[in-house]
Amino acid sequence: MKGKTLQEKLARSLDQANTKEKKARPGRQKPIVPLPPEKRCTKLSVSLFDTDLQRVKAIRAYILEARGDSPSTSQIIKIALRTAPLTSALINALDQAAAEDGRKW
């Protein structure tokens, strides 16, 4: 009977020690899974004129007031790209930008 009790205590103690050990040691890191194509971003370096930066600030201020969030510059550029209609206004804007720095496009 005594032997049986000792065995039970041994089994219980090992379980407790293993549980304690598992908690103390950091779990194995999850393997890095590549992001699906729709979630991948490409990092770009862009040049903006002062007038464009003013527009970035204006969009940020508008969203901050409307939603209470301050979007990043990347988010603001995404918003502009997604909402710009494909009209002749784009060509006019291009001409205007080219005239500002004197470069040919």
């Binding site: 032997g3 039970e8 041994l10 089994a11 103390a24």
Partner: protein
Amino acid sequence: MIITLCNGKGGSGKTTLAVLLAHALAAAGKSVAVRDLDPQGTASKWLRECGNKVAMYESANSYDAVFIDTPPRLEALPAALAPCSVAVIVCSPSPADLWTTRDTAAAIRPALPKGARLRLLFNGVQANTLLSRELPALAGRIGIKALESTISRRQCYQHAALLGWPALDAAAREEMFKAALEIITT
């Protein structure tokens, strides 16, 4: 839980205790394996002959406990200690063995993983001798916490190599259960 049994000196009883302590946990209903890192392969032979409920460690399967038997060479210890939760230096109660134990402990300490414990287990102790009474003081002198449990000199431990766990009488089994319990809990 991974328990590494070691000593820089041969003949201290590492293999016998690795196998028998593993059997004690197996008798308590746990899944246990022995990993034999000694090129002599004594633990592997023992388990093949009369392993009973203890598995030979082959891969990182999920066991409740794994006992690692190490060769009597200090250079081999870091690899055996890297995954362990407890390192047990098995030592016979003789001054000569304690000197080797001091060297073993010095080699072990830097190789122990964070949070792992180092304990000393006296093996082959003859009860009621002057030396057996001096053991705690001797352990204190080399700066390692000795387990209160000690393993006595018993014929049945020799027979266990032939007959396995059934060779142990009730007193020997209790000794193994107590030692295993103390290794796990203290």
